[in-house]
Amino acid sequence: MADGLQVSDLNAWFGARQVLKNIGIRAPANGVTALIGPSGCGKSTFVRCLNRMHEVVPGARATGQVLLDGEDVYGPGVDPVMIRRRIGMVFQKPNPFPTMSVFDNVAAGLRLAGIRAKDTLNDVVERALRQAALWDEVRDDLNAPGSSLSGGQQQRLCIARAVAVQPEVLLMDEPCSALDPIATAKIEELILDLKKDLTIIIVTHNMQQAARVSEWTGFFLMGEMIEFGVTRDLFTAPQDKKTEDYITGRFG
């Protein structure tokens, strides 16, 4: 955990088309790393490579080294299922399980992994919902269907579901793109809270968001990492012309 996540020489393909070229970043533990760039530049693919979700898509593959606390995610004999337990993920569109209640959604990860003890589940669900800043809004009706919540609440429910299994890293793939500004502000506040317990990598379209929540930022363009550095430096004194063009709104 102390090392966070270190990525080097990551390449990814959809069929014969290469979508990521030699990406390398260091996401320090208990920090927030933001990834920015125009649509289709490979940010989402990149985070999906980190917990081996990329290969779930037919025809997709990835090579490279992703060190999670010193252990290579792409090492021989590594079980992607175990990796995904250690590296959680929150998606662009809130996707609570529609047939499950709020409680069951949060408990799903543990319960389906075989943990049945009621007390444990109760504790975990409450802790996760508190971490996701949703507890006060749902505590009176944990049996309501997860899909009955508002969009912002659903996304926090998905965050609670992801942190309930106590991952070391949380990947967030444009978690606010379907939310209004108030819900977005809540999630950003939450990110700052969550980083006490885990390492966060967040993909965002919104450069202000990257500037607000992250310590490190990477700029992607057409499958390549153009620049990676301390957030403040990247936004105030970009090293690369393309980064400057992007953050000043000249394209993208």
């Binding site: 998606f91 047939t99 990860g109």
Partner: protein, 281 residues
């Protein structure tokens, strides 16, 4: 005539034709149901549901054995058709194999079109000949085979409707693939699958041909599942071709009970679908 007027007239004409066609769809069912009530309603009484068929010449009696027999045959058919149909449908929806699902899908559609009497011959060869007697089991196998393609295809369609994002959410939680499929995808699709099962049951409940030389029919209570068993459809058939007026009336009543059962099952299926729509909204 101005173009606008013409358009309005064409619009009204098409509206009328489409509405009339829609009414024609339900007309046969209304006529059949009305005729059954008219012919068989008078023979429907408590005895019809609780008593056994009377010997030839004695009035009264009922079809209790056939009603129970039909229910048992449906249950047996479900034992054959549901596991194969649901698991197969799940495979078709989830498989990434480029060829096998295509072949299975195509052959299932062909199987769906095979005349039910041919499926009866299949069950006769497969079950009746080796056992050397007609049996409820053979009838259940025949009906179950008819259910398979229906359940298979609806399960596949419904499972495909489950958004990929839910599957990904499960995988991202660190769950094994099969657990995601069974505990999340299948559970999300359950209402739709139930509908498919109901449709399949409605379809087989009235099947007669495949039972002629498998379940065979029985004027008495069946004793065991490896013995011939009565079924409503068979009893209606036997009574309808008999020379006795009383039996004819009972045949009408039997048909009425059968169609009512199908009606109830279809209604239940419809209500289950409404539940699904509520869930996904």
């Amino acid at each position: 005539m101005k173009p606008l007027q013409k358009r309005v007239i064409v619009n009204r004409l098409m509206n009328f034709l489409a509405g009339a066609a829609a009414l024609l769809v339900i007309l046969p069912l209304v006529l059949i149901f009305g005729f059954l009530v008219y012919q068989g309603g008078s023979s429907l009484n408590l005895a019809f549901f609780t008593q056994m068929p009377k010997p030839v010449g004695e009035a009264g009696g009922g079809m209790a054995n056939a009603i129970v027999g039909t229910l048992i045959l449906i249950a047996l058919a479900c034992c054959v058709g549901l596991p194969i149909g649901i698991l197969g449908g799940l495979y078709l929806a989830e498989s990434r194999d480029p060829r096998l699902p295509w072949v299975v899908r195509f052959l299932a559609d062909v199987l769906n079109g095979v005349p039910s009497i041919v499926i009866g011959i299949f069950a006769y060869t497969l079950v009746v000949l080796p056992m050397k007697r007609f049996s409820a089991l053979a009838g259940g196998v025949a009906l179950g085979v008819i259910m398979i393609p229906i359940v298979l295809r609806t399960t596949e369609e419904i499972v495909r409707l489950v958004p990929a994002s839910l599957r990904e959410a499960g995988l991202a939680l660190g769950l094994q693939n099969w657990k995601v499929t069974v505990r999340i995808v299948l559970v999300t699709a359950r209402a739709g699958i139930v509908t498919g099962v109901m449709v399949a049951i409605a379809r087989i409940a009235g099947e007669t041909a495949p039972l002629l030389f498998t379940a065979f029919g029985n004027r008495f209570w069946h004793s065991r599942l490896d013995q011939p068993i009565a079924a409503l459809a068979l009893q209606v058939f036997a009574y309808a071709i008999s020379p006795f007026d009383d039996w004819h009336r009972q045949a009408w009543a039997g048909a009425l009970v059968l169609i009512s059962m199908v009606f109830l099952v279809s209604l239940a299926a419809r209500l289950a679908t409404r539940g699904l729509q509520r869930q996904t909204r």
